[in-house]
Amino acid sequence: MATITSEKSSKQKTTQPDSATTVWIIQAVTGLLLILLLGLHMIAHHFIVEGGLRTYQDVLDYVSNPVILVLEILFLIVVTPHAMLGLQGIVLDLGPSKSATRTIVWVFRILTVLILGYGIWLAVALQNA
């Protein structure tokens, strides 16, 4: 994280927040949202649907509800960056070189887009299953 900041111009340093701080804030906000969304996810699975989601038809009925679809996509939008930024932080803490840091950051950005894209596609595809 220090490496990324050191690449910024001195003007940027004074006008933009440190990238580590930005990541920390994103993690805190998405983390708190996740507690809320995961709570709703668990309540819907285990309390609203009697006996929990079990059969093929139960699950398809559940995911075909538009409110559930929106909640699940929202959950994906929050959980994926949270997970990938967390893993990125762990890898960057191993102290890679400046160029490796750039590559690692891009790899995790691409992974975020791929996971998010696949997850949203899956949620929509299940509507028509």
Binding site: L87, I115, L122
Partner: protein
């Protein structure tokens, strides 16, 4: 800022990966840091596994039923409980980190940790009972 970065590189351990797991003689904060990372890695892996499992829905009813049969076995139920332990710890420790980091409870870090861990144990026991009762 540069001074802070210099001091960060000064305190950064020479072997960061080993430092996570070497919590001997360290305080609860070090344990929480190491466990937060381990549970984070596990939960990120679970996110991918969850998407793969849900993909079986696209293969039809037989594929899903096959998965559900496996998911009801004892090893999978134990994995469910391990997942809950990870989720509860990561979530509650995250709340602690957010409250301490934003200055809301900066001077109550230790108390907050233990209070949240007790809450975590209670939630986990309740959830574990629910998991086994549902399949029992």
């Amino acid at each position: 800022m540069e001074q802070a970065q210099e001091s960060l590189s000064d305190v950064r351990p020479k072997r960061p990966l080993r430092a996570w797991f070497d919590v001997r003689g360290h305080n609860a904060g070090s344990w929480a840091f190491a466990l937060n990372r381990l549970t984070g890695i596990g939960l990120a892996a679970y996110l991918i596994i969850h998407l793969v499992v849900l993909s079986t829905l696209l293969q039809g009813e037989a594929a899903w039923d096959n998965f559900i049969t496996t998911a009801k076995t004892l090893p999978f139920l134990i994995l469910d409980v391990i997942l809950i332990v990870g989720l509860v710890f990561h979530g509650l420790n995250g709340v602690r980190v957010a409250l301490v980091g934003t200055g809301v409870a900066a001077d109550k870090q230790r108390t907050l940790f233990w209070v949240l861990m007790v809450i975590g144990v209670l939630i986990t026991v309740f959830a574990a009972v629910m998991v086994f009762a549902a399949e029992g």
